[in-house]
Symmetry: D2
Subunit: 408 residues, 4 copies
Amino acid sequence: MSAPKKVVLAYSGGLDTSIILKWLQTEYGCEVVTFTADLGQGEELEPARKKAELLGIKPENIFIEDIREEFVRDFVFPMFRANAVYEGLYLLGTSIARPLISKRLVEIAEETGADAVAHGATGKGNDQVRFELAAYALNPDIKVIAPWREWDLSSRTKLLDFAEKNQIPIAKDKRGEAPFSVDANLLHTSSEGKVLEDPAEMAPDYVYQRTVHPEDAPNEPEIIEIGFEKGDAVSINGEALSPANLLTKLNELGGKHGIGRLDLVEGRFVGMKSRGIYETPGGTILLEAHRGIEQITLDRGAAHLKDELMPRYAELIYNGFWYSPEREMLQAAIDASQHHVTGSVKLKLYKGSARTVARWSDHSLYSEAHVTFEDDAGAYDQKDAAGFIQLNALRLKLLAARERRLKG
Amino acid sequence: MSAPKKVVLAYSGGLDTSIILKWLQTEYGCEVVTFTADLGQGEELEPARKKAELLGIKPENIFIEDIREEFVRDFVFPMFRANAVYEGLYLLGTSIARPLISKRLVEIAEETGADAVAHGATGKGNDQVRFELAAYALNPDIKVIAPWREWDLSSRTKLLDFAEKNQIPIAKDKRGEAPFSVDANLLHTSSEGKVLEDPAEMAPDYVYQRTVHPEDAPNEPEIIEIGFEKGDAVSINGEALSPANLLTKLNELGGKHGIGRLDLVEGRFVGMKSRGIYETPGGTILLEAHRGIEQITLDRGAAHLKDELMPRYAELIYNGFWYSPEREMLQAAIDASQHHVTGSVKLKLYKGSARTVARWSDHSLYSEAHVTFEDDAGAYDQKDAAGFIQLNALRLKLLAARERRLKG
Amino acid sequence: MSAPKKVVLAYSGGLDTSIILKWLQTEYGCEVVTFTADLGQGEELEPARKKAELLGIKPENIFIEDIREEFVRDFVFPMFRANAVYEGLYLLGTSIARPLISKRLVEIAEETGADAVAHGATGKGNDQVRFELAAYALNPDIKVIAPWREWDLSSRTKLLDFAEKNQIPIAKDKRGEAPFSVDANLLHTSSEGKVLEDPAEMAPDYVYQRTVHPEDAPNEPEIIEIGFEKGDAVSINGEALSPANLLTKLNELGGKHGIGRLDLVEGRFVGMKSRGIYETPGGTILLEAHRGIEQITLDRGAAHLKDELMPRYAELIYNGFWYSPEREMLQAAIDASQHHVTGSVKLKLYKGSARTVARWSDHSLYSEAHVTFEDDAGAYDQKDAAGFIQLNALRLKLLAARERRLKG
Amino acid sequence: MSAPKKVVLAYSGGLDTSIILKWLQTEYGCEVVTFTADLGQGEELEPARKKAELLGIKPENIFIEDIREEFVRDFVFPMFRANAVYEGLYLLGTSIARPLISKRLVEIAEETGADAVAHGATGKGNDQVRFELAAYALNPDIKVIAPWREWDLSSRTKLLDFAEKNQIPIAKDKRGEAPFSVDANLLHTSSEGKVLEDPAEMAPDYVYQRTVHPEDAPNEPEIIEIGFEKGDAVSINGEALSPANLLTKLNELGGKHGIGRLDLVEGRFVGMKSRGIYETPGGTILLEAHRGIEQITLDRGAAHLKDELMPRYAELIYNGFWYSPEREMLQAAIDASQHHVTGSVKLKLYKGSARTVARWSDHSLYSEAHVTFEDDAGAYDQKDAAGFIQLNALRLKLLAARERRLKG
């Protein structure tokens, strides 16, 4: 790879990406463009502008954008149509944000004539893979720079030395080492590393940042109602909300009731296992609600096929293959199932749990006429079941007959 | 089908199966053998003996058995190795009990020279299918009698008339109609029908029988520890327990903390949707714990394959194909993955939730040496990630290059 | 089911469906509408009109249609996009025709105000299922009449008696029993039953009707070229052809070279195994060609996912679930993969075989620059493979280390 | 990676691996152990001993072994139980040999106290991955040396220079470049590269080495009979044969009839597409025969599940994951299905094709009593089909009713 001339950096404004910014300038002597996105991580963006300017970035090279609506509408919601969970439990909060960041990095590179993009993910994690696969899938000629895999700033001390040497301001609370590492966006907050590295030890309470402890949650349950249209949530308690506003509102509700905490050891794509603490308050409610509305609006054949495809779909997102033909194929299948996933779900939120307690829809496939214990007025002929069973049994009978024949 | 001469009836001792017993005698003039099993449903069995005798069953034709250990060891535990859930949520508590009952019915038929078995499931549900597929898979020549599909006792009144006419004692509380229908065994209690038939209405509190309301559960969380060997739970808080005793103990813990309630609309094999309220206190804890121990002992390749196979496996059990070659194939695959699923999991039980909070194992695949944020002493070379990404990206780059070439 | 008043019958004009026609008139006293379709079975349709008139059908109730183009375009081609084969070998020639016939039956019923449709499939086969599932999926209120499951004309003699009694003309060659049963359409000819019922006996030569014996095929191979656009074949040897014309031409080529014969024992949906002799000359060539063009135009991720989904897709078609949400979901996934499946394939036809020998495309993903054994000018860095292997190996190393640790 | 001290090299005795041998000695100054295996590639092994001695390998460090029986018994046959084909067509002849070679390399390393193994695969192909993943899965601490990824002998000229400088004898026909690259073992011969690099060009006739041109095959078909036991072939025409002898015999038969040629463009695990010419004469017959015997002995449920699992299984072998938990899980499932796959298949071999024409088995599930077009004496009640269809249709009717309701 030849040296980059102009690089678009995913820039948070924090110490680490500021060091990367400087390192790119000094190591490659290249022009740096910064991209700072509001994905709902809960930090102000404007300070990033000032820091970028301070580090010598030209104003026209500073991109600061609120992409929350795009994030939820085009990434989070399509994923939730699939009921995607990784390894049975993880709602993919970090994974799903990466392709969008890469998409904007690549687009800004094309707008500004940059030949490279750079990110601050380390060489041990999944995020590097997600950033880079997405970037290459969108621009096969782009260069991707991952300083953590290249430089020799391998300890905290070396990093701080570099920062000081380069006049990068260091916030006081960054001098000491953080006791764990955090990633956040509108869908979730993840914490990992350091105090969390021993999976036999319970995570300390202070790790949780976005949800109250279930013990501290209200003593009264709260019933909410979520409306869906074609597989996507569109309202809460009757109020229509944009995708990002809806997820924000669900986060408030979930956070208040201590919903969506997860302590997980997961298998990374790069081959090792890691332990993470995830908080996905709104997403946890949304998943439950989406399953709730599918229960009455989705046919069994479609629902079971979705369940079988889901683990692969989740794995693809986890591994960074959002922009891949196979994810798009699965998405096409999933989306084809959601046309009638319209209606309302009532959920009970209480001390860490969100559970569906009622659901209704004009698109419902539930037929009280068929299922009733009462007289069904001929809707269903119980005698049909005899033939149904006989023909389902036929191959099993032939198997059993063989067994007896060979033993006899 | 020629008329049966001797029938083994799955007999609970209750009103409905007593009516069936009598009906078999009068309709077919056949000898009846009763089989009453303790599957952990929480009812005494000896009264069933007296009732059977009263209805003229010879003592040698009355079979009363405690099959709880076999149930948990050979059915529930193998299923939990798979982390089986149907339609994302249902732990299959009713489904998994049916094949064992059929197995004993068929075995008793062979011991007693009976040519038929009979069950009390209706023609609308899944249970008839499960009973009958299992019976036919074990004895291709057995006759199966399903009185609910045959007789004309189509209303409660007609049933009670038949009972009275035939001197079948009717408990006072059975005169009126039960407000919903219940099935119970050591794994769960299910309730459905009547007051539950409108899925838009919240289930009344009195439906729940086996778990306290989360609001009434203890205000203090309880931490428990479950030990596993080769995929099966073997101890609680350090005390070794037999399968049935272990599940019984988990049920107590789960019931006390309001764990394992589910309000579900599901797709039945016979084609309609139905709504059920399930309480699976111990099973819900067990599933969480099993996932917890797999997190550190199961390789990612095995874990993901298991997740992909699971929905099919669950569907097979739900549909009644426990005794089928494909269920056995899947079981072989699942069991092959469990050799090292040995270790301990700590869970926090609190007001409706059971969550893994720590896990450890001599068989752990978690490598702090690899994953650490600290210096890893060369365990992992971050530069490897560059090549890993490049080759994973290669096909995506070729795709992107095609896109550009064709547009350009 | 109340008695039908007006029935649309799938009518071939042959003896069996003429008997059905009469039986419907006499058994139900209902008005009969006939539907006779040209699906490429190679028979003239106009005689069916005369026979229908002779049996008293009003001219406005006689529907005769050439639906070959619709058949190939909307059913055969979508299925071939999936490379669908049932049980590894069967190209689904009969299965794929049934839903289209049902679709037209239901449409004609709606046009003519009929309340029922009828077909001539027996109660042992798959076709009854396919006809009826499709009919019910398109009109939930339609009645379906399957005379073979209802009447008592259970022997050839009884059928002929009924025909004579009702003045149905019997062709001389129909007096004796056919030595096997045949179904044909533009995609294939299938033969089964009677002389073919022992799968240990080789099928007699006279069973094959549509392909020459490979031994009698030309001694010279023939090279042909098939052009594809977006997954569908569009030309042969440079000549653009409509779907039906293209398949007709491939049938000629395949028939001449003895291509597409199959002797199969398959598992029917109704539970038994049956033996069929299938001839699918054009389809066999088309499948090979479609795989040929996908080899260079379809990404590995998409191709492998397609291969994994295919058996389910084929099973759905075989079992009669063309009109089901899950088939439509799979079709959406498959179709999403075919956008670039455009280009040309050269095949060699010779004495029973069709093999891809060359293929090219503007949409090709094959990169000689990458794969070459020669100097690749930096297109591919072999050192990347080291990291790729290391990270793919990491979990395997951790597994092996555990094995050693526990043994050590 | 620290420098290796003692290396076990997969040594063919040819020029390339002789250069590697020398390079290992000179580059690392390490002791070299050679392993030369007879996998049925059709070359004498003893010359390799002489060459190794000439290059200074101590006699006790020269391992020459005939591992054909182990190869077929423990690798080829288990794979054929799965009917494994990669990307619909490739029988995995190269892929399946690699793990066995690695297994012996690792075992010899442990016997001889070597700390490393080495292979002669390039950095562009799949074989490096297969060798190395297998080695690491068997010994997590082994070093693997892949000289083609390390050295600078990047052209034929440099290689020959190195050989001359190091007194490595060069056979005359190796001076010029081979027009393509070949790999062979008892299962297949593959050819790729150079003259084959343009997939739009037909492969020249001289590429094929193991099968006659179909045009030159006998004009008379040959009927053979293969006997199976529990999924593995055990006899040909009534003669019991060991696994390797059986495959050898099938290769003769297939080679003589021009069977098993394949011209394929495939997706490599490392991300690019490549074109190969494969000849798998015996394997092609074996696959057809195995499907033939499964047709009557394998239940539909098992057969369809196998078909769904197969593409993943084949992909795992192709990608080098033979020694992985997920391959072992799938193998357990597949093997669990083969208990009754016992019987005989008759095949017709003719000018490039092998087709099943008859099959029989004491374990057959085919029931003429059920399937017959004649009177079945009550084996099957056609009326059962009505109920079977009604309940399979119920969900489709509910879907159709919704569609009408919403439109109406």
